[in-house]
């Protein structure tokens, strides 16, 4: 009996210890914007270390550190298509020392019912970059352009498979094309970019989105055919690749990465951060790195970003509604 008691005692002690860890020290609510920042700033990246979003944010952090003269810590909290990390910032102190890196998945998760919060449960700071994709297929597939894909899809609705990571922007891409061209794909879920790419290269699936930089290499190595670019205009990396719009599909699909803060973070702090981020976006080294990654620097200040998010959410809603993915 004594032994069992000891087991429970250990459990109890752990529980008590844990709840002590859980109590965050309350930091001063009215942080003075004047001497902001005077401690290290945390950027929560709600995705795994090593991905595109992580890389871009680490590069932003590196530049921001120099401009604000403060330590910037990138913290990865992955899971649930970005919901888990975002939730953490949602409940964080609004003193400007915890920021969240976001992209379109925030609205996507809300609209598809995976989360109960969206863009406007945060304070937008700035939009930083926009990344467009190339629609790729295996070299053995019969189509050489999106026009041919659309034609084939009209003849055999729901036959052509399209790899997508559900809940992320790669799911929005086929959905947008479906609505714009009035066709039906067989959208197959793959968790993560790596598995999606493997499915296209291995000819498991008919179509899939790839980054233009990676796509260029696969194209040169004869492992993929690229059919269309999801940007508004042609890409500088692959100028010979026509956009979807040029091929009669009125769809633009991008991953728009920006930074937001918890609700009611003081305006002065937001302004300070937004100005600093503008400097980051204009710095030569950041521009070069982004160009190397095939990403467009697309800075928008706070107000402009808020308007952008509103429109972005509206567009997404329409497209998801048409393709039946919207949570009723």
């Amino acid at each position: 009996m004594k032994r069992i008691m000891r087991v429970w005692l250990i459990c109890l002690m752990t529980v008590v210890g844990l709840s002590a860890c859980g109590m965050d020290s309350q930091s001063d609510g009215d942080a003075q914007a004047n001497n902001y920042p005077n401690e290290s700033i945390q950027i929560v990246v709600p995705w795994d270390a090593g991905g595109d979003t992580d890389a871009i944010n680490r590069l932003i952090a590196e530049e921001l550190e120099k401009i604000l003269d403060a330590d910037i810590v990138v913290k990865n909290v992955a899971g649930g298509s970005g919901v888990v990390g975002a939730q953490q910032v949602l409940n964080a102190n609004n003193d400007g020392y915890t920021l969240l890196s976001i992209h379109d998945s925030v609205a996507m998760s809300q609209l598809t019912g995976q989360s109960d919060f969206g863009y406007f449960d945060f304070e937008p700071i700035s939009l930083m970059t926009s990344t467009y994709d190339a629609v790729a297929t295996h070299p053995d597939s019969p189509w050489d352009s999106m026009e041919e894909v659309v034609k084939a899809a009209k003849e055999n609705p729901g036959e052509i498979s399209y790899a997508a990571s559900i809940g992320s922007t790669s799911q929005l891409e086929p959905a947008l094309i479906e609505t714009a061209a009035d066709i039906d794909f067989n959208i197959v879920g793959y968790d993560g970019t790596a598995k999606r790419m493997k499915a296209v290269v291995g000819n498991d699936v008919d179509l899939g989105g790839v980054s233009v930089i990676a796509g260029k290499d696969y194209l040169e190595n004869d492992q993929m055919k690229l059919l269309g670019y999801t940007g508004e205009e042609r890409s500088e990396v692959l100028p010979e690749l026509p956009t979807l719009k040029e091929q009669g599909i009125d769809a633009v699909s991008a991953t728009n990465r920006g930074l937001v803060a918890p609700r009611d973070t003081p305006d002065e702090i937001i302004q300070k951060l937004s100005d600093a981020l503008e400097e980051v976006a204009n710095s030569e080294s950041f521009k070069t790195k982004m160009a190397e990654m095939g990403t467009k620097v697309n800075y928008k200040g706070t107000e402009e970003y808020a308007a952008f998010l509103e429109k972005n959410e509206e567009d997404m809603k329409n497209s998801l509604e048409k393709s039946g993915l919207l949570e009723e």
Binding site: R3, L18, G50, S115, V188, G189, N203, D204, E292
Partner: protein, 495 residues
């Protein structure tokens, strides 16, 4: 050839070797502490790698990964707690060997198996990377599903005693793996309103909860007389004897190394599956399967050479296609991305110096790992001399810290506690733990590959694709054999 020489020049300088050495030491530490994984060790080195040139940055991460895959064996053997998920099967024979009074032998054999596993996969990597990468592309969802089915067949041989209890444990593991967002559609399942559960139970707190926490609870209830090894004669084990042992089991070493490499190449499979699969296959091929789980060197060799060789395997798709084979190679690709190197199918062509640098640092890391651990064995053995009442709280603290560090949240510590209690209950009622873990690892992969497969074509595709058909037949045979030999060993024990 010119490229190789150029790369040798880039790698063989004091700076890079020092970086590699530090990586290896950091890896051994991260790998040996229960609750800290190799992936976490590599993630910690990621920011440092940004300020280095790409070859050094990759060398640092490589050191951590190779060191970590071998470091897991220290705690796995000495305490019976896997220091890292990929050392789970190492506990099956490593720990009994230590309890039999041969801790030096357990560490030495584990270490040399890790070394040979690394070297073997390194050689395969250098000579066959493009070929193997092409082979890996043959693995669509159909083949992956069949392979996972093969993994399930290991449940029978991992169920000591009751097969029924083993199957129940495996089933429960799969059930727990269903918690979280549906892997393909993203719809939350069994999350009971906890947004923390959207990504499911994190594997690490589940594993250390089941193995470490439950073990500690039991140790408190029934304190082992002592972890101290009475027979100090066997503390050290001469190298000549290790080499002889390895030579006698050469077939096992090579087979396990091959299994590890091949599993490593397949996307998302990785060290933990390699470790268990190879153990299971070694047991099935062994003339004395009844000795497995009681401290046989062959079990240890199979487990340790496979998890280390999977590291080399994971590099194959990364170098050949720019597609990561596991979480660590994904981070290596991230580091390259920061340096403006886009990993893709042309990496080997465009960055020959870097790619050869990866090869060379992989080999160097294996040698450094061997040297550091050989020198460290005596120190590691001191773990067993730490009085029990100090050791338990220390390990417990490390488990809690590690669980917290996975995602920087307290929630995962509660998960640790929950699974600690589940593990304790299972042990008390003689349910084997390994099938449960196997269920948790394989469950999501079986599900997503099966669902991808059926949404891409008819069910008959499983049998019309030759590779998939062969794997399914093998899996079924392996299941039948597993049940048969489990029955046989039960009968023997009854007499």
């Amino acid at each position: 050839m010119e490229n190789i020489l150029l790369s040798v020049e880039t790698i063989l300088n004091i700076q890079t070797i020092t970086i590699l050495l530090m990586g290896v030491i950091a890896g051994i530490i991260a790998g040996s502490i229960p609750g800290f994984t190799i992936t976490m060790g590599v993630a910690l080195t990621l920011p440092f790698s940004f300020s280095m040139d790409p070859v050094n940055g990759i060398a640092l991460m490589m050191g951590v990964q190779v060191g970590g895959s071998a470091g897991g064996l220290i705690t796995a053997s000495l305490l019976g707690i896997p220091g890292t998920p990929s050392a789970m099967a190492t506990t099956f024979d490593g720990f009994p060997m230590v309890k039999n009074g041969e801790p030096g032998k357990a560490l030495a054999i584990g270490l040399w198996s890790s070394f040979f596993g690394s070297i073997l996969s390194g050689i395969i990597l250098i000579f066959m990377a493009p070929l193997l990468a092409k082979w890996a592309l043959e693995f669509g969802p159909w083949e992956m599903f069949a392979l996972m089915l093969f993994g399930v067949s290991a449940i029978a041989s991992l169920s000591e005693g009751s097969l029924i209890k083993g199957l129940i444990a495996g089933f429960l593991g799969i059930m727990f793996s269903l918690v979280g967002s549906d892997p393909l559609m993203g719809i939350p399942r069994f999350t009971f309103g906890f947004s923390e559960l959207l990504a499911g139970f994190n594997f690490l707190p589940v594993l250390i909860g089941l193995f470490a926490f439950s073990q500690l609870l039991e140790d408190i209830k029934n304190p082992p007389k002592s972890f101290k090894i009475e027979n100090t004669k066997n503390i050290t084990y001469p190298i000549a004897k290790v080499i002889k042992d390895m030579w006698k089991s050469a077939v096992n070493v090579i087979r396990s190394g091959l299994i590890g490499t091949l599993v490593g190449i397949l996307p998302a499979a990785g060290g933990s599956i390699a470790n268990i699969l190879s153990y299971d296959i070694a047991k099935k091929f062994s003339k004395n399967p009844s000795k497995f789980g009681k401290g046989t060197k062959d079990g240890l060799i199979a487990a340790e050479s496979a998890n280390n060789s999977s590291v080399g395997g994971a590099l194959v798709p990364m170098l050949a296609f720019g597609i990561p084979g596991d979480a660590v190679t994904a981070m290596m690709l991230g580091a390259l991305l920061i340096h403006g190197i886009q990993p893709g199918p042309l990496l080997m062509e465009n960055q020959p110096v870097l790619v050869n640098g990866v090869f060379i640092s992989f080999f160097l890391a294996a040698f450094l790992m061997l040297i550091v651990q050989s020198l460290g064995i005596k120190v590691f053995l001191k773990i067993n001399q730490i009085p029990f009442h100090y050791l338990v709280p220390i390990v417990l603290l490390l488990c809690v810290l590690g669980s917290f560090a996975v995602n920087n949240r307290i929630f995962d510590v509660w998960v640790l506690l929950l699974f600690g209690l589940i593990g304790y209950w299972m042990k008390a009622n003689k349910f084997p733990l390994p099938p449960f873990i196997l269920g948790i690892i394989l469950g999501p992969m079986i599900e997503s590959n099966f669902r991808q497969a059926i949404s891409l074509g008819a069910v008959s595709t499983f049998f019309t694709r030759p590779l998939s058909a062969v794997l399914i037949i093998l899996a079924v045979l392996s299941m039948i054999y597993g049940v048969y030999s489990n029955n046989k060993s039960n009968q023997q024990e009854n007499y």
